[in-house]
């Protein structure tokens, strides 16, 4: 209940953003991306899209205010462009491709590196967040995943997995049962 109130505040912030963003042809498109917790996947990493839909269902069940949706990019190039420019701050990739993104190697060699933090693992898949993704949102998201873990095949806490990518600080706080951080601490 307390969380719901705080989430309402987040939505108010998003509407304020919308008001400022609304006066360009694309302002509300950007606001749409802010209003919904979009989980990006790509056609080129085939398992990511079907799993993103399962993840979205679980998040919406545990955290309906997130209004989460799946968002499928055509190519790794589009993934890199949207993630690195923070247009889409959440991304589901297979572990190998996630590592390639951070290092700017493999399938991302042509498009460049993009820093990312881990939210959660799902067998060979990893949910990544932009480093600037607020701690509070990461905390809420991690909490929703923990609560819905039974519906998420292969869900594994990043604390219980061999470290291949840095964990998001908000996720660490959630996994350590620390209280939810304040919102305005953006990096």
């Amino acid at each position: 209940m307390k969380n719901n109130k705080k989430i309402s505040n987040i939505i108010v912030y998003l509407f304020i953003y919308l008001l400022f963003a609304a006066h360009s042809p694309w302002g509300q498109y950007l606001a749409y991306r802010e209003q919904h917790l979009l989980i990006m996947s790509t056609r080129e990493d085939a398992p990511t899209y079907p799993y993103s839909k399962i993840l979205v269902d679980v998040i919406n069940k545990q955290l309906p205010e997130a209004s989460s949706r799946a968002a499928r990019a055509k190519t790794f190039r589009r993934v890199q462009g949207l993630f690195s420019t923070n247009q889409m701050p959440l991304l589901l990739l297979s572990k190998k491709n996630a590592k390639s993104l951070i290092e700017g190697k493999g399938v991302f060699k042509k498009y460049g590196a993009a820093d990312a933090k881990v939210i959660y693992f799902f067998d060979d898949l990893v949910l990544l967040a932009q480093p600037s993704f607020p701690d509070k949102f990461a905390w809420l998201l991690t909490n929703a995943i923990i609560k819905g873990e039974k519906d998420l095949l292969g869900a594994t806490s990043p604390l219980e997995t061999k470290k291949i990518i840095d964990i998001h600080p908000g996720t660490i706080m959630a996994l350590n049962n620390e209280k939810m951080p304040e919102l305005l601490k953006t990096k």
Partner: protein
Amino acid sequence: MLKKILYIIVVTVFSSFYASADTTDQKWMKKVEVTKSGDHCVDDKNCFNRYHPKIPPVAKANPGDMIILHTRDALDTGFRLDSTPDDLATVDLGLIHPMTGPIHINGAKRGDALEVTVIDIAPDEYGYTVIAPGFGFLRDVFPDPYIVNWRLTRIGAVSDGMPGITIPYEAFPGSLGVLPGEPEIKKWKSREADLAAASGVVLGPSAGGALPANICGEKGSHKDDCLRTIPPRENGGNMDVQQQQIGTKIIFPCFIDGCGLFAGDIHYAQGDGEVSGTAIEMGSVITVTVKILKGKGTDMDMPVTIGNDQIIDMEPTRYYQTLGIPIKGKGEIPPSHKYLDSSTLANLTNASEDLTISARHALMQMIDYLVKEHGLTKEQAYILCSVAVDLRVGQVVDVPNFIVSAVLNMDVFDKYRN
């Protein structure tokens, strides 16, 4: 031996007959063809997505040449027949609109006019229509993404997402134009900045995804002066006027020597209004010819279109028409009027002499009709209006209620055609 000679004679006679009957080897056209390479505009040296006079020509053509341009879809997306709204969420807005060109027209100077005749448009096999969040005429009513994927032939466009409907082939260039000159860049930037300062809906120069990158991109030489392609201006561009059909001539004022002709964003079909924000969008091969009208550009405010019976061919043989007057809900301010910040308008239920609110009224009634009488979802109805419903001004004199009507070509329903 005699048989052999007879055989040779017969073969020789018949082969010469076939050769003379074949027309394929007869050529008269001088062609200048600009092709595509790579998946997206960024991969293609013949593609750009911002306007600036420094963008170098990719080809030169003479008046009378067949100028053949291979074009990309408006959003430079890579959508396909199985695309879903989830794909629409990942569109990169910085890439809109990819244009093919520019073409330097030999002999054309600033101050001339360029008459462009649309000779042919060959459609791709696939097209799409979308509702993009925050874009389109009813963006407050339809906030979520939606996509209809079309299979295209020159007979019609059909879609699993729009069963029982066939949209007739009425292709035209959504964007066709010439590059602005330095004075135009300065003037247009200034007036758009003034409007933006008054909270108008304006998208100023933005370097993200801009092409060519060396001129308009993040580190480009003129990144602050490269204009976005969204609004049509005096140079044409994104006019989205469906009457510019194959066979019509569109005349543009030239702002730079060589004019800098370009085309892109070709539409398979579109209603007057393009209300959802997109027509049936597709890649294509468009062929045009040009003629230089010496000194005629200085007298022009905007491009003009000259046609013959094309406008008649597009008319429906049966139609359903809704009528809109400028009425609205109390407290309601349509998105188009928000920048006016008017409490006067908010409190009224009847606006004065307002075609935008009349159009909205007519369109909402048409959507209701399509939902109630033809079983479409609201999103399907909005998409159908975007590709096959024409918003038309009825009158602008009967104060305060100017009328805009919405005209649906009933022939789009398979049940009404043979």
